[in-house]
Amino acid sequence: MEFTFSDDQRVYQQSLAAMLAKEVAPETIRGRWSTASGFDPGSWQQLVDMGLTAMLIPEDLGGLGLNEVDFVLLAEECGKVALPEPLVDSALVASQLLVDLVRCNSDFASRGTELLQQVAAGTVQVAAGHMINPYLNFAAEADWLLLGHGEEVHLVARDQLQLQAQKSLDPSRRLYRVAWTPSAASRLVDGQQGAQLWRIALNRGALGCAAQLLGLAQAMLQQAVKYSSDREQFGRAIGSNQAVKHLLADCAVRIEFAKAVVYRAAYTTSVGPARADCAVSHAKVAAADAALLCARNCTQVHGAMGYTWECDLHIWAKRSWALDKAWGDNGFHKNRIHEWLLNPRALLGAEYTFGASNRAFDISTEPLTAETSS
């Protein structure tokens, strides 16, 4: 039982943070808003150069073979800067779905492997559309799209589909409604296999959201602390008011108790993404709660300034409001946990916090735990 990150993981996190601080400062995000694509190829190339598009791809498929625990701190950093580019969905969901497809469809193995090598190298982008998300973020940037027809998984080239842009409240998000015609040629797996793959993709997508929301929450809190310490009213810093302190202390508490939940979800996904439903749903709910509270309280602490376009806070707040509902909203995820808690076969109690794989004593039947429930 060991619940800390390794030095390597922390070093990677810090390198990424340093890079992002330069590449994705608020003024550069505002710059992207006025471009047609909203996508900065230079920043993306730097992410590629740091290995982020390759890291979760297994070594035998041309990647670095790292896992969700290695990635979760990086996704958190992407949240902290409100990175517009869809790195997290791309690396954590789309590439991983490609890997899964390579593993379960031998006819696709060679083409898929080639595609993964291009993805790792940053020469090709792949996006995954999931039925839980009505729109696909940055679909126009993808060369290939993994899409569902029923539960089947199809691979479609961008020029084979129609994209209808849909403006989001977050100008960094570039949503598209995707219309396309499925064919036998585009189908990679049938519905039976696909159902499991989409379920795993959902868990990965929600985990990525949770990690980003955790980062967004911390970034907003940091900004509000700074603003309230600098800004004076009635002759003293507004942050010296107990009411302001307590608004932000409440944010700190929620963030503090979302962290381990998100990291547990990353670990659980890394060892068994199909058995991570509850761990991931818990992470999504906890991180979203923290981010929504920070959006509210940090806006409040900023006063009228917090309600303006020119104050950077809304860059984080709007992303939080959007990600709260992406990859399954609060209701969806709480409901997954509720259904599990009501399952009479669920194993409940402190000794199962980390799942039944930890049990050391006789349990005659094969009961459900948070990690094995459907």
Binding site: Q166, L169, Q233, Y307, K318
Partner: protein, 388 residues
């Protein structure tokens, strides 16, 4: 206690309903935070004024109908029920108007009230300054008397509607040696005066709902001062009192939102998994009704000679938190599509104005005195807790 409308009140409601049915524009107007939308709303104000519906509680001499508060509440209920346009002239008719009637000279009333009522002159409000937001007594902008004029230098911020309005009412420091609440005066400035620069400030939705105003040797006649020199603070407090009194206008707004929320809930509830959504919807409806009931009670008390006290700070907290709750619940009901802007192609009818209302609701606990300041007021003035 007799919680039944009189036949006269029912007749009044019917009259309002009919007039609104005949006159409310079929299509929603554009946002009044755009140039075009502002002019559309100005026209609507003029339509209202022509029917003497602009400010029903004002005396008939000023274009009103001399209505009492209950009738005003009925008017507002019908107004929101008809989904009539938002009031772009709110600063004028709800805040400055009553202040003018109380403190203005006859000549000032004659000059300003009817043009305000007719929508010909639209007003912005100019109180806050950088460094003097919630702490209004920290005002530094100066209006120095020279003969029959004041010469104004300084800066205002968070001035609502100032981007497209015609006039702004402000408080300035007329005694440069004074400090805090003393030496301030209440002065009107035309926004097209020489030396005035208006810098729009965009809100969360990207539209300039307020502005920063710079005054560089702006000259206005002494006639533009309301009340005596140095009395600005007291008059502004009285205006702020009217602002708090806006609660008398508000319940119908929240009841209408709660009703729309309920309709949304009825449509979506079978698709919604959220375990807490039913509770939220019911609470929103109850709280909107509680707010209305409390307002009717206050109106009755005022009509019996009572006054509004520090308990009005309770109102500010209650309605602003209710508003957040209503729109946050709506966003939950809309799920992943809630983030679409109204102009998005897929933002079909069901998305309505929920997103814009959600963004606007974020400002409720902030403007007109933050809720933290309101809680201080409740604790100290209503409950009598120690200041230090």
């Amino acid at each position: 206690m007799e919680l039944v409308y009189t036949p006269q009140q029912n007749a009044f409601r019917a009259e309002v309903r009919q007039w609104l049915a005949d006159n409310v524009p079929d299509q929603p107007l554009q946002s009044f935070d755009t140039r075009e939308g502002f002019e559309q709303h100005r026209q609507w104000e003029q339509t209202l004024a022509r029917g003497n519906w602009g400010m029903v509680t004002w005396p008939e001499a000023y274009g009103g109908r001399g209505c009492n508060l209950i009738e005003w509440l009925i008017f507002e209920e019908e107004y929101y029920r008809a989904q009539a346009p938002l009031r772009v002239n709110q600063n004028g008719i709800f805040l400055l108007g009553p202040t003018l009637m109380e403190y203005g000279s006859d000549a000032q009333k004659a000059r300003f009230i009817s043009k305000m009522a007719s929508g010909e002159e639209m007003w912005a409000q100019g109180w806050s300054e950088p460094g003097a937001g919630s702490d209004m007594a920290a005002i530094r902008s100066k209006a120095i008397r020279e003969g029959d004029e004041y010469v104004i230098n300084g800066q205002k911020i968070w001035s609502t509607r100032a981007v497209f309005a015609d006039w702004v009412f402000c408080i300035f420091r007329t005694d440069p040696d004074s400090s805090r609440h003393k030496g301030l005066s209440f002065i009107f400035v035309p926004l097209d005066a020489e030396g005035v620069t208006v810098r729009p400030i965009e809100q969360l939705n990207g539209l300039p709902g307020f502005a920063e105003i710079f005054f560089d040797n702006v000259r206005v006649p002494v006639f533009n001062r309301l009340g005596a020199e140095g009395e600005g603070w007291n008059i502004a407090m009285s205006t702020a009192g009217f602002e708090r009194g806006l609660m008398l206008r508000s319940p119908a707004r929240f009841q209408q939102s709660a009703k729309l929320l309920l309709q949304l809930y009825r449509q979506k509830r079978n698709d919604i998994l959220d375990l807490s959504i039913e509770d939220s919807v019911v609470r929103c409806y109850m709280d909107a009704e509680a707010y209305a009931l409390s307002t009717y009670q206050t109106a009755s008390r005022l009509m019996s000679g009572g006054s509004i006290g520090p308990e009005s700070s309770c109102n500010k907290i209650f309605w602003s938190e209710l508003d957040l709750q209503i729109f946050t619940t709506a966003m939950s009901l809309l799920g992943a599509r809630a983030e679409l802007l109204p102009e998005a192609e897929d933002a079909s009818d069901d998305l309505g104005n929920w997103l814009d209302g959600f963004l606007f609701a974020q400002s409720g606990p902030i403007y007109a005195g933050t809720n933290e300041i309101q809680r201080n007021i409740i604790a100290e003035r209503m409950l009598g807790m120690p200041r230090k």
